[in-house]
């Protein structure tokens, strides 16, 4: 059973849909008990960082997540904003503290070149940097769907599993122990995304 954490940000149904498609039981929830009972956790989300942290705090999810992810060490996948929330800090509309599970800061994308529009919307190449759960040992580029204006500036280079070029390279996926995260949306990345979700489910 995978718990999809519901904190009022973004389209959670898409994540449930892809898990249904793969045949993995899942529940969209913000209840402590259900999160504790789940085998794996997914933190999706689209939207503003500050509001997301506020919602997590209001719902009492910061403590639950800290415990389940950092102490119990449950397999965890953060998607898009769910990846950025793992950082220590974000500079999106002011300055906000994050969950601090992975060392780094969230900063605005600053592509070099006039042709790069912000937000970065659409399908782009994901270049695996090392063997990891989501890519396995397949180092061939994947094509995934992105929607974001900010990126995770990761402090420990060994946490980085994938990068993407958008007028300069940025970190598009991370892995540190039981914690995995993608800036792109595997649940919206058709076959490459389905493959990654299968790997996470199996892990």
């Amino acid at each position: 059973m995978i718990a999809i954490i519901d904190y009022g940000m973004g389209n959670l149904q898409s994540v449930a849909n892809i898990l249904d498609y793969i045949g993995e039981k899942n529940i969209i929830t913000n209840k402590t008990k259900e999160i504790e009972l789940a085998d794996k956790l997914i933190l999706p989300g689209v939207g503003a960082f500050g509001e997301a942290m506020e919602n997590l705090k209001k719902l009492g999810l910061v403590e639950v997540l800290s415990n389940e992810v950092m102490e119990v060490k449950k397999p965890f996948l953060g998607i898009c904003l769910g990846m950025q929330l793992l950082a220590d800090k974000s500079y999106e509309i002011g300055e906000h503290n994050g969950l601090g599970f992975i060392k780094g800061e969230v900063k605005k994308l600053t592509p070099e070149g006039d042709e790069y529009r912000i937000p970065h919307i659409g399908w782009n190449d994901v270049e695996p940097q090392r063997e990891c759960v989501l890519y396995g040992n397949d180092m061939s580029p994947k094509i995934c769907y992105f929607v974001h204006s900010f990126h995770f500036d990761c402090e420990n280079k060994e946490d980085i599993t994938g990068v993407t070029d958008y007028g300069g390279k940025f970190v598009c996926s991370l892995e540190r122990g039981n914690i995995m995260a993608t800036q792109f949306h595997p649940e919206k990345s058709q076959k490459d995304g389905i493959e990654m979700m299968r790997k996470f489910v199996k892990y």
Binding site: G10, N11, Q13, V46, P119, I143, V147, Y166, E187, S189
Partner: protein
């Protein structure tokens, strides 16, 4: 490198896909459910579902294809499509409030598109962007060519002239927080002559957010023109997809052969 997107736009009326011509003639061309099953197996990068029904008479059933008639409204169709397609889904038509946006997202849409309501109450753009993020708010602009070559914004299914210049409105919606612009030429809609390139070009160069070109595709070369000459980030196809087998694959191959980066 960021790929150029190929988008399928399904216009839904009374639960059926219709072909639109200049926003005034509508010909039923197929069943929405069947189309979606096909698109997912093919190479489409994104799906836009536009409900142009305002009478709320839904009939998804087609006796010839034996599908269940369990979908009773557009919300249910969004839900159905989102369960079948693992590419971004944008839904529009009939949105009047932030609550409507929330409902479409809850049904499984990743983005929503608004048109008339954005013109009448532009605050909905900012509020929608604040609550759901800019990436979620796609502003649909229906443009009508003027004799002097400029374009005016039309509302209410392209029937009412707002008097606003398209470029000015495009800049305004970007400023208000829109994430993308879905730009349709009323003149070229259903014409098969290709996009209104002058229109796409002026809007795409005036704003920094992505512009989706729409209206008029009759040949795959029009897709290439929309991107190379118009500067669009994505190209939308409606009518042409309904008639050609494996058409998305052909379209993608043609774009690739012409030097466009696609998925």
């Amino acid at each position: 490198m960021l790929k150029k997107r190929l988008i399928a736009c399904l216009i839904i009326k009374d639960g059926q896909i219709v072909q639109s011509k200049h926003f005034s003639e509508f010909l039923v061309v197929g069943n929405a459910i069947m189309a979606v099953e096909h698109f997912n197996a093919w190479a489409i990068d994104e799906i836009i579902l536009l409900d142009i029904n305002r009478e709320k008479n839904y009939d998804f059933f087609r006796p010839d294809v034996n599908y269940d008639n369990t979908l009773t409204d557009f919300d249910q169709l969004i839900k159905y499509v989102s369960k079948k397609s693992f590419v971004p889904l944008c839904a529009g038509g009939g949105i009047r409030s932030v609550e409507d946006i929330r409902r479409y997202i809850k049904m499984g849409a990743d983005k929503i598109t608004i048109n008339t309501v954005a013109i009448e109450t532009p605050e909905i753009i900012t509020e929608g962007a604040k609550v759901f993020g800019s990436q979620c708010i796609v502003i649909s602009i229906d443009a009508k060519r003027q004799t002097d070559g400029t374009h005016k914004v039309m509302k209410g299914f392209g029937k009412i002239d707002t008097g606003m210049d398209v470029v000015g409105w495009a800049k305004k919606v970007e400023e208000l927080g829109a994430g993308e612009i879905f730009l349709t030429s009323i003149d070229e809609d259903g014409s098969m002559r290709g996009y209104d390139i002058a229109l796409v070009k002026t809007v795409a160069s005036a704003v920094d957010i992505p512009v989706i070109a729409s209206g008029g595709v009759g040949d795959w070369k029009h897709l290439v023109e929309g991107i190379k000459e118009g500067g669009a980030s994505a190209v939308s196809v409606g009518n042409k997809f309904h008639f050609t087998e494996h058409s998305t694959m052909h379209a993608k191959n043609f774009m690739k052969q012409n030097g466009i980066e696609v998925r």
